[in-house]
C-alpha cells in the first residue's frame, strides 16, 4: 500500500507478522512497517468482523490495534519496532488472557 524511499538508509529491523519474516526499518512504528510490508495485514473488528487498516496513524482511532509479543489490543501506530518483535493480526474479538 505504501512504498519506501530509496534514500532511506535507516538500519533494517527484522520482525515477524503472523510468523512471516518482515524487514522493517529502525524508527518505524509497527503500523508503518505493516503498511509497507506488502502483506494483507487487515484486522477484523470485534463488533461485526469488518476488515480494517490503520486510519489516523496518530493514536486516536484505534483501527491499528494489533497483538504485539503476545499482548493484544496494542496501538500499532504508537509502538516502535524492535528486532525479533512478533506481531499478530487480530481477527474478531480478543480472548481472555491476551
Amino acid at each position: 500500500m505504501f512504498k519506501r524511499l530509496q534514500a532511506d538508509t535507516r538500519k533494517p529491523v527484522g520482525i515477524f507478522v503472523d510468523g512471516t519474516a518482515v524487514t522493517a526499518r529502525e524508527g518505524d512504528t509497527v503500523s508503518a512497517a505493516l503498511l509497507a510490508s506488502g502483506l494483507d495485514v487487515r484486522r477484523t473488528t470485534a463488533v461485526s468482523g469488518a476488515p480494517r487498516l490503520p486510519y489516523c496513524m496518530m493514536g486516536v482511532c484505534f483501527d491499528c490495534l494489533v497483538t504485539v509479543d503476545g499482548t493484544g489490543n496494542r496501538q500499532g501506530c504508537l509502538i516502535t519496532v524492535r528486532e525479533g518483535m512478533r506481531i499478530e493480526i487480530q481477527k474478531g474479538k480478543r480472548e481472555i488472557g491476551r
Binding site: 519506501r4 526499518r25 487487515r42 463488533v47 496513524m57 493514536g59 483501527d63
Partner: protein
C-alpha cells in the same frame, strides 16, 4: 518496565511534546521550576514536527522549512533542564493535579503544582459512506507515514477534502516521488461570502504566500476537481473506487488509497476528563476550552496551550506554550530570573501569530454534507453505529450523546468518541432542533486511553488510597 519519572512531585507537568508543550516546558524549566514533559510518541515534535530527530527524509526542501523550524525548540527544551519522557501515555488527570501516566506497560501517579495540557489537535471526523474501508486513511496519517518512515502511497491515490494540510501533503508526496491521481476539493465556494472581509488580515500573514505557492505547485502536476458536493468510498473488503458529485454530475474513479481531510479540531479528551469547562465554537464547529488570557482553565492549576486551546497553528502554539509556561513561573516562582520575553511581549506575539486565522476558519468551514451524514454511513467507527441508528435512537427518546450510549454504545469503544463525538453532537442537535451547545458532548472519564486491568492493579498504592477502600 521502562524508566519512569525520577520524582513523584513536580512544579510543572506538561502533557504533549509538540510546539506548545516544548515551549511551555522550556520556559518553566528554564526559570528553575522542576518540570516533567510527558509525550506519547517515540520522539518529540508532536504531529507538525513528527520524527524530527529520526526522519529518513533528510533533504531540507522535501518536508519544507516549517518542519525543520522545530529543531531549535526541541534543542531548547532538552537544554532547559526539563525531564522529557517519550512513550509516556497520560490517561488520567484530576482536580488535585494528580497525573496518571503509563510508561512501558507500567502506570504511576505524579503530582504537580501546575499542569499544562498541550495535547494538540486531531483531524475532524470525515464520515462519508465507506470511510471505514481498508485503504481509506486521513491525510494526516499519510503525512505521518511520510515524515516518520519516508513512505508514500503506492498505486492509484486520491486526496479528498479541503484545507491547508491537504495541499501541503499533496506537495510533499509529489516531492518524494509519489503519485497522486486526483484531488477532490470539497471547499464550498459560498464560504467566500463570509470569509472575504477577513481577507485583508490574512494577506499580511506568511500563510497567504505559502498557501498560494503550494496550490500552484500541486495544480501543475495533479488534476483537481473543485466544488465536490458528495463523496463515497466503495469496495469489497477494501477501497476500490471513489464516487463523487461535482457540478451535479456523479463520477466514479478507481482507487487504491483514498486520503481524507477537512481540517483539525482540538483534542479535548484529557481536559474534559479533568473537568475543564468547554464551549461550542460556532465558527470552528468544535468544542474549545474556556480560557483566560494566560490560558488558565476553569480548573485551578490547569492551563491549556497549543491547538488544544482552539486551532491556531504551530507558530501560535509556540507562543501559547510560552505564555502558559511563564504564567506557571509567575505563580510558583515570582522572583525567578527570567531570560525569555515578558508576558506583554508574548501577548503581542500571540495576536500576530493568530492573525488571519478567522479567514481560514470561514473559508475552509466544512459543509453540512460532510459533517452530518445520512443513511447507513458509519458514525462511530469503534462500535459500528450508523447515522440511521442514531436518528432512530433520537426518535424513540435519546436526548443527547450520553443517553445515546445506553441505546447504541456510540462513543464507548476504545477511541472514546474521538472519531465520532463531534458528528454525534451535531447530528443529534439537528435531529432534535437544538444547538450543539444545548446537546452537549460525551461525559469523558479516565482512563482516557485504555490500559490493562493488570496495569491498573499493579500501580503503587499510597496508604491513604488503601484506607479509602479497605475496612
Amino acid at each position: 518496565m521502562s524508566a519512569g519519572p525520577t520524582r513523584s512531585e513536580y512544579d510543572v507537568v506538561v502533557v504533549g511534546a509538540g510546539p506548545a508543550g516544548l515551549a511551555a516546558a522550556a520556559t518553566a524549566a528554564g526559570a528553575g521550576l522542576s518540570t516533567l514533559l510527558l509525550d506519547e510518541n517515540a520522539g518529540p515534535g508532536g504531529q507538525v514536527w513528527r520524527a524530527i530527530d529520526t526522519t529518513p527524509v533528510r533533504a531540507p526542501d522535501l518536508l519544507g522549512r516549517d518542519y525543520w523550524a522545530g529543531a531549535g525548540l526541541v534543542a531548547e527544551a532538552r537544554a532547559s533542564g526539563a525531564e522529557i519522557l517519550q512513550g509516556a501515555t497520560v490517561w488520567g488527570l484530576d482536580r488535585n493535579l494528580e497525573v496518571a501516566v503509563s510508561i512501558g506497560g507500567g502506570s504511576r501517579f505524579v503530582t504537580a503544582r501546575r499542569v499544562v495540557l498541550a495535547t494538540g489537535a486531531l483531524e475532524r471526523p470525515f464520515p462519508i459512506p465507506g470511510w471505514t474501508l481498508p485503504g481509506v486513511l486521513t491525510a494526516g496519517a499519510a503525512q505521518t507515514l511520510l515524515k516518520s518512515s519516508g513512505l508514500v502511497p503506492e498505486g492509484r491515490t486520491v486526496l479528498a477534502g479541503q484545507g491547508p494540510l491537504l495541499w501541503l501533503l499533496a506537495a510533499q508526496i509529489l516531492r518524494l516521488g509519489g503519485g497522486i491521481d486526483l484531488i477532490l476539493d470539497t471547499a464550498e465556494r459560498a464560504n467566500w461570502r463570509q470569509a472575504w472581509r477577513y481577507a485583508p488580515g490574512f494577506l499580511f500573514t506568511p500563510y497567504f504566500a505559502k498557501g498560494l505557492a503550494l496550490m500552484r505547485e500541486v495544480r501543475a502536476k495533479v488534476r483537481v476537481v473543485s466544488g465536490v458536493t458528495a463523496l463515497s468510498a466503495e469496495g469489497d473488503g477494501r477501497v476500490e473506487r471513489v464516487a463523487y458529485t461535482a457540478g451535479g454530475r456523479r463520477e466514479t474513479v478507481p482507487v487504491d488509497t483514498l486520503l481524507l481531510h477537512q481540517g483539525v479540531v482540538p483534542n479535548v479528551n484529557l481536559a474534559m476528563a479533568a473537568g475543564v469547562k468547554h464551549a461550542w465554537d460556532p465558527i470552528q464547529l468544535c468544542w474549545a476550552p474556556v480560557l483566560d488570557e494566560t490560558l488558565a482553565t476553569s480548573v485551578p492549576g490547569i492551563a491549556i496551550a497549543g491547538d488544544g486551546a482552539g486551532i491556531g497553528g504551530a507558530p501560535a502554539a509556540v507562543v501559547r506554550g510560552r505564555i502558559a509556561g511563564l504564567a506557571a513561573v509567575e505563580a510558583l516562582a515570582p522572583t525567578a530570573v527570567r531570560r525569555g520575553p515578558s508576558m506583554e511581549t508574548l501577548r503581542v506575539a500571540r495576536d500576530r501569530a493568530e492573525r488571519g486565522r478567522r479567514f481560514l476558519d470561514l473559508l475552509f468551514r466544512p459543509s453540512r454534507a460532510f459533517r452530518i451524514p445520512d443513511g447507513d454511513t458509519v458514525v462511530c467507527r469503534c462500535e459500528e453505529v450508523t447515522a440511521r441508528d442514531i436518528r432512530d435512537a433520537v426518535a424513540i427518546g435519546a436526548t443527547g450523546p450520553n443517553q445515546l450510549k445506553a441505546y447504541r454504545r456510540a462513543g464507548m469503544g476504545p477511541c472514546q468518541g474521538r472519531l465520532c463525538g463531534l458528528t454525534v453532537t451535531e447530528l443529534m442537535a439537528e435531529a432534535r432542533g437544538m444547538t450543539p451547545e444545548e446537546i452537549g458532548y460525551y461525559r469523558l472519564r479516565p482512563p482516557v486511553k485504555p490500559i490493562t486491568l493488570a496495569e491498573l492493579a499493579d500501580m503503587p498504592q499510597s496508604e491513604s488510597a488503601v484506607r479509602a477502600v479497605v475496612r
